[in-house]
Symmetry: C3
């Protein structure tokens, strides 16, 4: 019985490991695609596309690894992620939507990357030994970081700051906090992690679809405002 439970636990663990790796790879591909699509919009050449795709896809994870002290970051030692980013850029170079549709495609791939990375980033940080709140913050930074790098390099205000961009940081924080809670109480499994990622992606896409906007600070018309 006990041996059976151990085997089951090990299977669950290896399932979670596989899900983690698949989730990271899909997140990398999604963000690389979003970077390559922005490159198409900005008329970059194929090498500029490759640089922007890789910065977007690997940037968040590199920042997370630097913050937890894992050097060199896995993006530089495990070349699977770099290869996947370059392949995604190559595919977009040859087959991409027309100019009018790139924006929608960019935002969908960006949402998928955001949702997957807020979960996998939290898991990596937690397993590295940080507490649950720190892991949630690092997961959010992992999810947001790549997109910020993409937007700063591409010369536009980061999505996370734009008021015409509906809720962006909030879905990432939601997914990261849910994952950290699951990890803290020992309920994190492959399927619950996937669920958290799916909810974060749905949250972000619904916010886009129904234009859930957050309030802006009012500008007082007079000069006496404090």
């Amino acid at each position: 019985m006990s041996a059976g439970l151990d085997i089951m636990a090990t299977q669950l663990d290896s399932a979670a490991d596989a899900a983690q790796r698949i989730g990271e790879l899909l997140g990398v591909i999604a963000f690389a695609t979003s970077g390559a699509l922005l490159a198409v919009r900005k008329n970059l050449d194929i090498f500029g596309m490759a640089v922007l795709a890789c910065s977007t896809a690997l940037g968040g994870g590199v920042i997370r690894d630097l913050l937890i002290g894992r050097t060199p970051p896995s993006a530089f030692t495990d070349l699977t992620y770099l290869t996947a980013s370059l392949l995604a850029a190559l595919v977009i170079f040859f087959r991409h939507p027309s100019h009018r549709l790139t924006r929608g495609a960019l935002e969908i791939t960006d949402a998928v990357g955001l949702g997957l990375f807020c979960v996998t980033g939290t898991v990596v940080a937690y397993r590295y030994g940080t507490g649950a709140p720190t892991a949630a913050l690092l997961g959010m930074v992992t999810a947001i970081g790549g997109g910020v790098i993409r937007d700063v390099l591409g010369g536009q205000v980061p999505s996370v700051l734009r008021p015409d961009q509906e809720l962006y940081a909030v879905p990432a924080l939601f997914g990261a906090a849910a994952t950290a809670t699951l990890l803290h109480f020992g309920y994190y499994r492959a399927w619950s992690g996937l669920l958290a990622a799916a909810l974060a992606i749905a949250f972000r896409l619904l916010a886009r679809r129904y234009q859930w906007r957050a309030p802006q600070a009012r500008h007082s018309p007079d000069l006496r405002g404090r």
Copy 2:
């Protein structure tokens, strides 16, 4: 006598520790306020304000911690600073000066953050075991870093580079170098640290007030210049 001196030294140390913590917290609040004010000027929503306030307030310290190898950076493990940044952003969301006055308020809060961080950043680096010149450089980077992140994310040329912005890096370097000198010769106390911060803040504000500008390189009118 000796025991009395030891106790006095311990009291001095704990006073310096308390001053260090209060100085860091005030610097965080000042920079968070400056980030939130820029967010008001740029019409960001409340979450964009929170992101910009936190990046500004915590960015310099995160860079410093990465540079000295303290991972994860204290901004991710001690949530006091994050909470203070969010509260500052919330206050500015509800009560901020009118559009015409935000610029002045932004520059005053920025000067206060600059002065406090060049001192506390130098102290953190020095206590971590770097030499005095390295500590002074890291203190200057801590002080400047948050504002650079704020300006790059907010889409404007960093204050530290703008020629219409009077001396910016110089007050930070002055405060950091003074602190490193005090530390190196064993004269660093709570009050001398506060004095160095006050002098750096005054230096920066006087430079604004009296428009102390540094010379720009002349553009030669002819084409033969080398």
Copy 3:
């Protein structure tokens, strides 16, 4: 005989060490000059020039050191590089080409920095114990990093992304990959490293001269493109 070979190997090593240091110093001076020239173009004052020159010259190496976990980065502990950057900025402040010629001078100094840093960056990473592919990637990042920082701070799209900027990342990757190959098979010497740097510089300058451009993604005129 064996002793003679040992001495010869040691001499080769110390020649490689000296070449490494000279290469790094020349790369720092070249990049500092390019940063100072951009500062002249942007009408920054002398302190803004110093900040931009140092960020450009030291930024790539600081990023590399953070990525391999060498903290504090050598730019903060060995002040030779900082001093060289400041001197380069000072020289450019007093003696710089006329406005119309700064662009050409900027691009030549940038190419020299790029070629030298892709080699020295790879060597530093490899000696720190990373594998050859990781060292090549880190070398490329070292070479590109400073210029990206310069362009982001100076408010322009990074050269590495601009389609009107002929091949930029490719010469850096070429030089880094050549160096990593030499190191991996034990053929790295002072002269072979210099040769790799010279080839990378020539590659970049020839790409400029003869406008070797990479293809851009075609924009499909219709909306059915996928």
